[in-house]
Structures are given as structure tokens and as C-alpha cells.
Assembly symmetry: C2
Homo-oligomer: 412 residues x 2
């Protein structure tokens, strides 16, 4: 799975990869600028392409249903007014599903980058097994597709966020906190999804990073890390303004960075892993809260909500547990910043609600040697960040290769 | 400093960045494919651009002196033979200078990627101070420019590799192992360099990674890490086929990743830093060799050469020192692979000569939890890898933006 344009192949790579890359690049560049609101004259200036080329590319994008004429521009200024282009009110949208340990979440995002649909269902996915969880997710997706369809929106791609390591072919290699191994999502969902809908599966931290890059604190930042998690802890890495997945999608496993020579034995076989010392279960246990995934009775607060409540009330065990987790997070982030020198670390997932107590001890432990500071920020995207990133990835294919819409026959 | 094409600006970034990006992209893409040896017809197929556009772009590149007609293609096949394009025998070249603790190195590379000049001078740069070191480097560069000039090669860009952290404006912020801080290279070298020559300064590990990407084991790999060093230890990170520098060029500081709770106090203020436990001085001291930078008498072997000699002879102290360093390197690489999941780690710098003794204990300590393996490779580029990367970066500007040659008036 890739987000953003592919780099031009380096010397020594296969020539085939470059096929039609310039044409796709031009169409994609024009779409990108036009969605932000431009006239044809401005597009010509922005891309360096001639007016005739722009006119033909815009005509194709209008025909594909990816752009709309927004009415005359330059009113009150000299010269013949041009028509301003922009995103269509209806048409293509991306849909995203997040599967996490104790909830499912669905989001749809349109070409203007607006969230057009949002739904969330709390449930215990540790015990249900992949077939039941994925089928519940597919049902939520079907609901989303039907709802946005009433507004004239057509899904052109689906992204799925999972709490584990995935490969580029949609195989969930390992999602230890829900107990899945080598699960192929489409084996369980194919029948319930719109036929032919391209599906991309990726790690929740990676997709939370994509959401920040396009919709959150990552806008305008080149290099940053999203720290997220609940039971596990993961990092989404954006390097050179692109998501960095690493080989086999395995990058960002900050939960398994050693921050102590002691600590409980981790599922990975080592001791001292960050997630065993600063993850949700570690924090809740240290605060004297049962880390069962869902409350025993419906309507009772979840473990994290209880921890927030107690910390706000000044409960010493809760405050000590958070201070300890904050210090471990800072130790982990010191290693991350030493290796990656990000401009910012964005706290996401459960760390958003807990940030008031975690940030200060984390910043103190982070203590970087270099003069360059790192901003510690709190995500503003809410609990559905990974689902937003998944929906963005669903849309991204079409932004990178507008003609893929025609090939898939999606909007016709 | 950037290597490879810039990503298209994301939404929310300034529009100015996109100016003429499509035109530059097309010219650069055509140059890239043509240097690998293509006919105009093949270029049209490879880029998706029309024949007329290709003809005009190729004419411009020929005019800029960046391409040459290599003679007829398709001999013996049906149809009118096209002329095969390729790199010119003379014309643009990039020059690179590496300043390291105990040597200076200069390399020139032409548009075909061939090393056309190579020189090295061993000297103690710890005590000489920046003015004398940089002036000696500038003298070596002047010699290189004059030598390659006799072959008709004209430098279009200079890269400089330093053992420290640099910013994008050529300021060497910190090079602790030569004792430099806030050194502006051009303050000491401007008068001795060809006027108007664009200069890029970057960290040696970053430039060793660029060299691997274009000329070494990094060709065809998307995500890899180059482990290099002598007194210090650094990593050059390639993510999504591009060098990843991090904010302020600070990425890859693996030498300051903690691999022990003990260890000598590091200049960074912490204990247990990898380079204090596995760097050149640590290894030599542990083997009972005086870690002075240069031998007391000219002609005697350097410390590393002595260590290799003793290890090869089975000296127990040397073997124990190398085994210990290997284990620490493996512990550091385990953290790197947990966070970055590279396809490969390439041993460069002094680690090339020491690899026969370091690789095995490093691989054992690396012990990754994920199924995905990581290749541990030994650089084949020789001791001038960073200088080769610097020369490549000097050339890269012209590959990314061929018209910059005309603007700078270099080849005319």
C-alpha cells in the first residue's frame, strides 16, 4: 500500500515501472491543484503545462466526475473571468473501516476532504474471532455505503485499519492483541463488499499517520511520528511527507522498543518492551483498574475513562501509574527522535485522553541531546483517526491515478 | 538537501512549490530514461508523452549537453532504426569531498555513473581546526577539477560529507569527533572553489546511503539502512527509495541509541550510547591498541588495520573486543529494525574491514521478533562511499532539474 506519488524509479530499476508515469503524473497534479480550487489559467501556471494540455486534462477530470465547475472566478478584476474548478458535491468518496481490540469504526470522506459519514460500535474483538469481527465490520460498511449513496457519493476505494502487521496483499500477518495470525480479510468480507471495490489493509498506526498528514497536525509537516495504541503501542512514521511502512509493513513497532532491562515477558519473547510498561493494560493494572476490555455492565465507563476520571479526581494510584507510563513513553520517544529526528510527535488513540498526565513526564524523559526541539502534540482528529486515514487511502488511489476510476467503472 | 524527485505537495501546502513541477518532472524523467540508453520511441512509451513532446525535450537535453546520440538502434530489426541516446562522454560531472576524522577524500562521477577521479589523503583532522582542514579539502578539489577538466568534464555541483549534523544551508551544526561546532564550510572554502558551483553539505552516513542507493547494494532496494562510522557511529536511512534526513538533518544518530544501562559517559550527556561501546576507539581500547588517530610513525598500520591483523592472527583480546562490539551493534540494530523494518542493513566505513568478526555476533543479538528477515550486507563501494555519495548529490540537482545547468551557465 502506498500513499502519495511513487518516486521515479532509480537507475537500475525496471523500465516498466515508468510506463505512462508522466501522463499519470500530469493528470494527478492537475486534479490535486484543481480540488484546492483553481482556474484553468492558474493550473497552467501551477503545473507549467500549456493551456491546451490543461483544457484537455480538465475535460477528462470533469468527465470522470472528479471535478466540478464552481462558477466564475476573478469577479471584479480585470480580464475575462475564468471558471473556478473544485471538488464535486457528490461523486467519489473513500470509505475506511478500523478494526481494533474493543471497537469497530467506519468513516467516509469525499474529494473535498470532508467527513461525510461516521459510525462506531464498541465490542470485544479479542474473543470473537476474525470471521465474526470482519463480518460485523462488513455490515457496518454496507450501512455506510447505502447512507452516503443517498447523497450521491460512490465509494472508489476501501481502507481497513487493523491493530497488527499487514502486507501489501491485504494479509494480516500478525495482530497479537486480537489474537489473529495470517488472516486474509477478503476471505471473510468479499461477499459483503461492493464488487470490484479496491481494498487496502494497513496497520492502525500507519493509517492514523495518514489521517494526520492530510487532515490533522501533520499538514505542512514533512517528518513526524504518530504515537498511538490501546493495548499495544504503535508508531506511524511520515518521512519526506510520505507514510513510511518499511519492509513487509513492519516499521513503527515502537511498542517493542526496549525501555527497561526488567519488565514482564512480552509476547515477542523479550523483556522491557514499551507496550508492556506503558500500554493500556499496564497503566490500568498499575492504577488498580481491571484491564478487561469492556466494562462488565453496559453503560459503565471503559477502563481508560475510569482512569481519566480517577486521575482528574487526584487519585494517587492513577496519577502514579500515568507518571510512570509517561516516563517510559519519553524513554521510547527519545530512541525514536535519536533515530528519526521528527519535527513532531503526535499523541493519538488512548494517549489523547491521557495526554494531560502523560505529556509532562514524557517530555522530561525525552531530553534530547540535539539542539533541535521536537513538538509533542495532541491529535485533534478524535477517536476515529485511523478510520479517517483508511478512508483517505481509499480515495488516494484515484487522486494518484485519476483514470483508475474509469478502468474500475466506478462512477459511470 | 534532497535526493530524488520531490513529492507533489500535499493538500494544504503552499501552491508555489508546484510551480512548473510538471515541466521539470517531464524533462527529468526523459533525462533519467535516456541516460540508461533509450531511443525517442522508447522514451515516448516509457513516459507516456507524445512523440513531438519527446523530440523537443530530447533536443533541449542534447542542447544542454546532458545527453548524446549513441548511434543507430534496432540494427537488424524491422522498421526505421532510431538513434539510441545515452550519457555524453564528457560534460557534466558531480564532485564530492569527504572530511572525516583521519582523512580527506575526493571523488568525481559522470552522468553515466562512472567514477572518473578518486584521491585520498590521510591526516589528523581532530587537531587541525576547520580552517586548515577545509582549505586542504578545497586544494584537493581544485586538483580534481583541473584533472577532470582535461577530460572535458565540468563540475555542476559539489557535495561535502562531514562526520556531523548539518542543516540545509551548509552549516555544520555539530561534528563532535573533530570538535567542530557551527562551522560554515563556505566561509573557509568559497575563494578556492569554482565560482557559482552549487554546494551541498551533509552527514557522511547520509551520503554513504546515497552512494549505496545509486551505486551499491541499495540499487533496487526500497528501504535500507547504512551503518557506518569510525570514531562515531551513524546510520544513513533510505525510506521509500529516498534518503531520509529528518528535521535539521538529525536522523540516523544510531551512535546515541542506548544499548546498555552502564558504559562510559558520552559527549551527549548519557551513558550506554552505542558508539561509546562499539565505535572505533572502544574497540581498539578493548583490544589493547592505542586509539590514537594516526600511527606514531608514517608507514605503520592504522589502529583498525592493526586490529584486523591481530584478529586474523587469532589474538584473544582482539577477538573478544570484536565479539563484544558485534553484540552491541546487534542490540542497536535490533532497535533500528524494530522501528524501521529495513530490507537490509549495509555495513560501511570501518565496519567493512571488521565485518568478518562483527557480523555473526551482531546477527545473533539482532534476533528479530517478526518473521521478516533483514539482510546484513557488506558494502562493496570501498572506503570512499561517502565521497561517492557526495559526488552523486552534486550531480543530482541537474538530474532533478536539467535546466538548472543553463541557469547556472555551467556547461556553456
Amino acid at each position: 500500500m502506498t500513499v502519495g506519488t511513487e518516486p521515479r524509479p532509480g537507475r537500475g530499476e525496471g523500465k516498466g515501472e515508468g510506463q505512462s508515469s508522466s501522463r499519470r503524473h500530469n493528470l494527478s497534479a492537475v486534479l490535486h491543484h484543481a480540488l484546492a480550487g483553481s482556474t484553468r489559467a492558474e493550473l497552467s501556471q501551477l503545473t507549467g503545462l500549456g493551456r491546451a494540455t490543461i483544457t484537455s486534462l480538465v475535460a477528462e477530470l470533469l468527465d470522470l466526475g472528479l471535478l466540478d465547475e464552481q462558477g466564475p472566478a476573478n469577479l471584479g478584476r480585470m480580464g475575462r473571468p475564468g471558471s473556478r474548478l473544485g471538488p464535486p458535491a457528490a461523486g467519489a468518496c473513500g470509505v475506511g473501516l478500523e478494526i481494533n481490540v474493543d471497537y469497530l469504526s467506519v468513516v467516509a470522506i469525499d474529494l473535498a476532504g470532508r467527513v461525510r459519514y461516521r459510525a462506531r460500535s464498541e465490542r470485544d474483538n479479542r474473543t470473537a474471532g476474525p470471521a465474526r469481527v470482519i463480518s460485523a465490520g462488513a455490515e457496518m460498511l454496507a450501512g455506510a455505503v447505502s447512507e452516503v449513496g443517498a447523497d450521491g457519493l460512490v465509494p472508489v476505494g476501501l481502507g481497513v485499519a487493523v491493530p497488527g502487521i499487514t502486507d501489501r496483499d491485504g494479509l494480516i500477518r500478525e495482530a497479537p492483541n486480537v489474537g489473529w495470525r495470517d488472516v486474509r480479510l477478503l476471505d471473510h468480507a468479499a461477499g459483503s463488499l461492493p464488487p470490484g471495490l479496491p481494498v487496502t489493509v494497513d496497520n492502525e498506526a500507519n493509517l492514523a499517520a495518514v489521517a494526520e498528514l492530510h487532515h490533522g497536525h501533520g499538514r505542512g509537516r514533512r517528518d513526524f511520528v504518530v504515537l498511538t495504541g490501546e493495548v499495544g503501542i504503535g508508531a506511524g512514521i511520515v518521512a519526506n511527507s510520505r507514510l513510511f511502512r518499511g519492509a513487509g509493513g513492519g516499521a513503527g513497532e515502537i511498542g517493542h522498543v526496549p525501555v527497561s532491562t526488567r519488565g514482564p515477558l512480552c509476547g515477542c519473547g523479550n523483556r522491557g518492551c514499551l507496550e508492556r510498561l506503558a500500554g493500556q493494560d499496564a497503566m490500568l493494572s498499575a492504577a488498580g483498574i481491571n484491564p478487561a476490555v469492556l466494562p462488565a455492565e453496559p453503560g459503565q465507563p471503559t477502563g481508560v475513562a475510569l482512569l481519566v476520571e480517577r486521575a482528574a479526581a487526584g487519585d494517587p494510584a492513577a496519577l502514579a501509574a500515568l507518571a510512570r507510563s509517561g516516563r517510559y513513553l519519553g524513554a521510547g520517544l527519545r530512541i525514536v527522535t535519536t533515530l528519526l529526528a521528527p519535527e513532531a510527535v503526535i499523541f493519538s488513540g488512548i494517549f489523547v485522553a491521557l495526554a494531560p498526565w502523560l505529556l509532562k513526564p514524557a517530555a522530561a524523559a525525552l531530553h534530547r541531546r540535539s539542539d533541535a526541539g521536537v513538538d509533542l502534540l495532541i491529535s485533534s482528529l478524535g477517536p476515529d483517526a485511523a478510520a479517517m486515514g483508511a478512508a483517505t487511502v481509499g480515495l488516494q488511489r484515484v487522486l494518484d491515478d485519476p483514470e483508475s476510476v474509469r478502468r474500475a467503472g466506478r462512477l459511470s
